[in-house]
Subunit: 392 residues, 2 copies
């Protein structure tokens, strides 16, 4: 039996290691050996490879509760030209380690890598099956109901909104608190901020997503209207809300970076134009690595999806990304399937128009129906001397 190698790529999440656990335990169950590449394809090229046999028993359990990327990550784009020497180098390393299965856990950029490697294998008739396994807090991958990592991020945002709502309400002096969450091009994370208000009656009063129509004047008018009825206001904005003209660098995949700051910008505007106390809170990195507040639904699905990936045998799965399909009916559940990584690569799934209300300042019932099951359940986390116990 050929060996497997697994890598992680792109930004950290609280569930990417749960997926790693699934891949490892699934493949080991099949009787195989699993190697790990440190720092994704970049480490692979340096032959920075480790036998993952140490990931068993307690370490495996702990792994699935540990945020970030246990194997390290990278942001590296392979060349479009498959005749470049880098491909030959990669596949010679696969050969050296007798690799027959490659599992690459990542987002839409990583699926670009999966697509390219799988095409190289096909064209050159190499017996290596390259399979993509999705992860991203951004939830912006097409052809899957949602992505591992998203549910935990959504839960963290919703929980934090519950707490900020309590915090900002303690004073009688009118104030506007603006919470900025991640989401450059899509508002999936931002919409989770609507859950507390919708389901528990209190939370973020206004929610603005990049997919909605946005103007600063309408924003100020929304804020002003609510301030006439209540003292304190909690507003959530995705970082990609077009509050101001963007200037800035591009990342290696051609995405604009450093968009953060629209919360601070809007807060300043509230102070100046409405003469009202205002502050911005930027969740920043904590929303993608808060292992102490993850969704059990997310973590369990992530493990199962990894296991599913490692169960796929046959050349027909080369170039696939495993994906989740939501079951029909009232009881939430998912089935697993395969989709072409090429169709996921470099594409962004936006929040559907009917998830946003007519006023473009909150979400709809359809949105709540979609996101609410994904944050359900908590995991048992151990603490050491008062701090979360993670695998290091």
């Amino acid at each position: 039996m050929k060996n497997a190698i697994v890598g992680q790529s792109g930004g950290p999440t609280s569930a990417i290691n749960a997926t790693l656990r699934g891949v490892v335990q699934g493949f080991v169950k099949r009787g195989g050996t699993v190697f790990g590449m440190h720092n994704g394809i970049q480490g692979l090229l340096d032959e920075d490879i480790v036998n993952l046999e140490y990931l068993k028993g307690e370490a495996l359990t702990l792994l699935s509760k540990t945020p970030a990327a246990h194997l390290g990550s990278c942001r590296m784009r392979l060349p479009d030209d498959l005749s470049q020497p880098v491909y030959n180098k990669i596949f010679s390393i696969f050969e050296k380690y007798n690799i027959g299965y490659v599992y690459y856990i990542g987002g839409n950029d990583s699926m670009d890598t999966v697509d390219k490697l799988s095409r190289y294998a096909k064209i050159n008739s190499v017996d290596v099956c390259i399979i993509g396994v999705p992860k991203t807090i951004d939830n912006d991958l097409v052809l899957t109901d949602h992505t591992p990592g998203y549910g935990s991020c959504a839960k963290y945002v919703a929980g934090t909104v519950c707490e900020l709502d309590l915090d900002v309400s303690v004073y009688t002096k009118p104030s506007v608190t603006i919470l900025e969450v991640m989401g450059r091009e899509a508002g999936w994370i931002g919409m989770a901020a609507a859950l507390p208000k919708y389901l528990l009656g209190r939370g973020s009063d206004l929610v603005y997503l990049p997919e909605g129509d946005f103007s600063c004047d309408k924003f100020l008018s929304d804020v002003e209207k609510l301030l006439s009825r209540q003292n304190s206001l909690l507003v959530t904005v995705s970082e990609g809300v077009p509050a101001y003209e963007r200037v800035g660098d591009m990342d290696v995949f051609g995405h604009a970076v450093s968009l953060s700051g629209c919360g601070a910008y809007l807060s300043k505007m509230v102070k100046e134009r409405l003469k009202c106390k205002s502050r911005a809170v930027e969740l920043s990195l904590t929303q993608r690595c808060a292992g102490h507040l993850t969704s059990r639904t997310d973590i369990e699905e992530s493990v199962r999806l990894g296991e599913f990936a490692s169960s796929l045998v046959g050349v027909e799965f080369n170039g696939s990304m495993v994906a989740m399909v939501r079951k029909a009916g009232d009881v939430y559940g998912v089935d697993f399937t395969c989709v072409p990584a090429s169709e996921v690569a470099n594409r962004v799934k936006k929040v559907p128009v009917d998830f946003i209300n007519d006023e473009q300042n909150f979400v709809t019932q359809r949105c709540i129906d979609y996101v609410s099951p994904l944050i359900v359940g908590e995991i048992d986390l151990e603490y050491v001397m008062g701090m979360p116990k993670y695998l290091r």
Copy 2:
């Protein structure tokens, strides 16, 4: 038996409601009736008063797990001149509600209020006993080993540092992440960021507190030195670290406000001077209201301290603040005592010099010995539809 009234004042914490629970259940045990003033002394003046009889059973349990300030808060400074009419008004309201005991839960500014009201009572021979009950995440009150609310904030900071450390380590590209935590004048919160590195071997590599000697050149040299040995660096700074000259408004108590931003400032400096990728993360409001990650030690002590306050009978306790004294010996524990609120009011307790290392860029064993017991233990929090269940 005369009635009691309780108020909360100053910034929210995760434990101020636990103290409220202690006061209420302690006084009710004595057979008395407890009223609450909404928004502290400010609401009292508007006679915004509620009978707290609804705080029993499950509501009382839930209250102690709910962050922020259940009764609302205020920032209001009473005049120094005790002959001002506001005092007469306050005590006529006390008389109307047959109040014999006033419990005011807050920080050093609130102890100013306790001191003034208690002096008025004494001078005018009014039979009302005014007792201060400490709370502040800042831990900067003198005459108490530590303050309720601090342990939970310290635990949140330490836990977040564990997670950020995992997050920032996933890439091989050199990077410096600067975590800015609260602490204008004192570094109590900041020093909690040292716990993971000290006790678990990984975490914030450098920690700068307002009490230490700080210069930007030394900071850059510290960062540069560590970057020669490791790829990613996590640095924690208190917001009050003198990275740049302060200009800004004062609050009503004469404190400088809006100091936040030193993390962003230092991050920009790292980028420019060291040509290294850098980002700043500001914990902002979440560190004072993260009810989902509180210290059981803190929450339990806060309840007990509130109960202790409500057990004090006798005119000699007028003008006291209840306080905690750490027991001698190896096993952590506290005793409760009373100190004059007048000596706590408007003063700030700084981090001792011997808590900071010689290099002025980390903490010492003495610091760890002090803070580590305060973050121990977790509370059982219920979740509703995936979100923390709080009392509203």
